[in-house]
Amino acid sequence: MKDKTLLLIAIVTLALALLPLGFESNVVLNFLAFAMIITLAAQGWNVLGGFGGQFSFGHAAFFGTGAYGMALLQVRFGVNAWLAMPIAIALGAAVGYAIGFLSFRARLRGSYFALVTLAFAEVFRISANVWSFTGGAAGVLVPLKLDPWNMQFADKRLGYWLALALVALVLLITHRLRESRFGAQLIAIRENEDAARALGADALAVKLKAIALSGGITAAAGSLYTQKFLYLDATLAYGPWISVEALLAPIIGGIGTIFGPLLGAFLLLGLGEVTKTFFANLLGGARPGADLVVFGVLLILCVAFAPRGVLGLLARLRGRGA
């Protein structure tokens, strides 16, 4: 059983790695790279929300911290990109720990936790928008210096592979999580916090560990975003839409599963492209917002009919077929 998951991770990673060898299309490469960034952000959300049952509406706080950390370390302090990335990830984990410390100690759960994380993300967004250190409303521009030493690649496939490597690493981390005491206690807390405490789980410590890990992973997505687009502003980094996408992907793909966020990110972005093309070509003119309406409908349908997302639906169909 254990080996099967590991094997599957290897196969999926390899398949994704081979994808860009077939073609040179920039559109497809951009799509793939972006899908990896969303996957990472969603994997971060899934650790806390999927395995831990703590639904955050403010993962933009971690994404943005990773993104700004990456940009500002390079621009303001001249730190090399390869060193800046782990620091940015650590910053995201620290922000996660801090938000978790305040919220979990105050015993915020469910809707209250969701709202307070959203408010934290908004405080970050507005602060980044007015503070001169973060570039204010004008944002930050990372100078273009194409060189692998700067984590800026002339060959876009390298950037994609780097992102894929991080995604694969997180797949392994979540796999390990499920096989560990920490993971078992985290899932137990999701199912019933009092019972988990009675069985010796230090609920606060476990949740703090989870939100720090979650924040770090989502911050990695933010730092990749910075290196890919070399430009940031407060809405791009800390905007509410990031938080929504981070939770949509796992919920649609399969909440609390290893591959859910990855599948969900591809489904979301793919569906987004299809909707946009549909409106642009068939209905005579692009309609901004159409893809997001589809996402909203999908979210409600998933909650109503597929509580374990597409992966859960597949498992159920297979169970019925067998």
Binding site: S180, I187, E191, A195, A196, A198, L199, G200, D202
Partner: protein, 250 residues
């Protein structure tokens, strides 16, 4: 030898209501000790304070001679005190095996060890055939056993049972009693809270009776069952006298 668990003057006040008033109790190592009382006597409140889910307004809890009054629940579990819940609290989305493994993880870091321990405990409480069932699919009796199994998997020295027999039918109770005895025989001390008297009487070495928040009697089950105050607490004022008169007339 000092008792394994000792509580002294434990008091819990909710606003103006005195739920538990100056309660004292001792649990000797290796015994099954019962805590009984009519509904609303404060048993569950006393129980939650011993388990660390509520802090007493006054009084102390000692375990192995050490004061543990303010220790958080998970630390008590670590030291060897496990509890079950009166209203069963399974991890509904997990299988029976995974449920028990959460408890087993306390002393077994590796997944494989925890799962092996879970299986071993399942055999002990008779859940072995249901190991791969989802917990939400269990019957009430199955869930009570699962509560027991999870608590046992933490390898406790003192097991606190909160009405594990309540809600079971007579034949299920008959099946459960040897399981509880077996646990004691394996070396685990048990404090059992019940409001059904008969089952407890046959299980316990010592019984404490709580009524309206106060400890009104303690001793071997046979003595306690004859105690006038206990009979009155259960059956109402004057019941003991009526029973005696009834016996005299007969």
């Amino acid at each position: 030898m000092s008792p394994l668990l000792r509580i002294e003057g434990l008091t819990k006040r909710f606003g103006g209501l005195l739920a538990v008033d100056d309660a004292c109790l001792q649990v000797e190592a290796g015994s099954i000790t019962g805590l009984i009382g009519p509904n609303g006597a404060g048993k569950t409140t006393l129980f939650t304070m011993i388990a660390g889910f509520a802090e007493p307004t006054q009084g102390e809890v000692f375990y192995k001679g050490e004061r543990i009054t303010e220790l958080p629940t998970h630390v008590r579990t670590m030291r060897g005190i496990a509890r079950t819940f009166q209203i069963v609290q399974p991890f509904a989305g997990l299988t029976v095996r995974e449920n028990i493994a959460v408890g087993a993880h306390l002393r077994h870091r590796a997944r494989a060890d925890a799962l092996a321990k879970a299986e071993e405990v399942a055999v002990q409480v008779g859940l072995e055939p249901l190991l791969d069932r989802p917990a939400h699919a269990l019957t009430v009796a199955g869930r009570k056993r699962l509560e027991l199994a999870r608590a046992l998997a933490t390898e406790p020295q003192l097991l606190l049972l909160d009405e594990v027999l309540a809600g079971l039918n007579p034949s299920e109770i008959r099946d459960m009693i040897p399981v509880v005895r077996g646990i004691r025989d394996s070396g685990v001390t048990i404090l059992i809270v019940e409001h059904v008297m008969q089952a407890v009487m046959s299980l316990c070495d010592t019984v404490y009776v709580l009524a309206e928040g106060r400890m009104i009697a303690a001793g071997p089950p046979a003595d306690v069952a004859r105690n006038q105050r206990v009979i009155e607490a259960y059956l109402g004022q004057g019941a003991a006298a009526r029973l005696r008169d009834g016996a005299a007339h007969a």
